[in-house]
Amino acid sequence: MAIQARRMPEDPSTACEDLKFFEKRLTEVITYMGPTCTRWRIAIVIFAVLVGVIGSKYFANEKIEIFQIPMIDMFLTTHLDFTLCFFVGLLLFAVFGVHRRIVAPTIVARRCRDALSPFSLSCDHNGKLIVKPAVRNSAP
């Protein structure tokens, strides 16, 4: 009797409403990451443009002047833009991980799918819930 008392019959309308709010919150979570992701994408585009401009400057340079100068002076004076660009790139990719931030909604959606898979649920890249039939081994 106590065992049966614990197994309460589920109200389908309550479960349906719960799943709706569950899905609504998942959608909010993934949608929220969109603007931040866009800002990081703009940052990486600007960085790529800068790299292109600095690179093209060296390719367009027809006269190659060879001087006997130390390496440190070369990096700090004539190639200061290259040095700064290198360190900014290192900062962006190694520390901030910008290559992952630009796909942050996809990463969060994949994490949601991993967390939902034991419950026969899934979600698309927008957070919309995909309900699969709950298969459980019902022992006779």
Binding site: F22, F96, R101, C112, F119
Partner: protein
Amino acid sequence: MTTIAQSVFCFLAGFFNFFLLYFRKTSRAYCKYQVVKYHSNIPMSPLTTHRLLTVKRKILVLDLDETLIHSHHDGVLRQTVKPGTPSDFTIRVVIDRHPVKFSVHERPHVDYFLSVVSQWYELVVFTASMEVYGTSVADRLDRGRGILKRRYFRQHCTMEVGGYTKDLSAIHPDLSSICILDNSPGAYRKFPHNAIPIPSWFSDPNDTCLLNLLPFLDALRFTSDVRSVLSRNMQALPETQSVQYY
């Protein structure tokens, strides 16, 4: 002369060992590092805000071993952690008048997970380990924040045929607002509709299971009955109707 060479060699060996340990800790920390985590203060729409005020604040029961941490001690026979892996902290407990030193490894992002989830749920620690060990581990995970105040240990478990099971109704009588996070399906055998399964963790620094659960637990707050979602659990063991002894 030989003594001086031996001293220099010992010094260099110690120096090398120090750098080796430091390199291991650094590389492990970098493996654990995840750029995309989770924003704990994602704004809610008026509809979800109103919904959150309507439903009750839920209770999240957390297991310790192989769920949030993994620990081993010197006397263990089967090595579950590669030798040389730096532990996050060590605890010394006295078990049956024998002092035992446990090396404890934290699951990646457990500190961040607890700080975020404590804002959403009332946290309860429920472990099948002994109280003297569970208290030390919970104190270290808490870090003085006061988020793991309610604790249950082995004496609160129920001895079943397959091992210890955890009685969730002893924590809170309303089962619609309590859920348990455990790696062992046997622990929640009596409450399969309130369980969130998680794979066991031993030493993988790239594990992101706790980060995966954050959006799930965030959304679970908005249900009036957690069993609407958790009853779809496929990994729960079938409930034994009656245990027969032959």
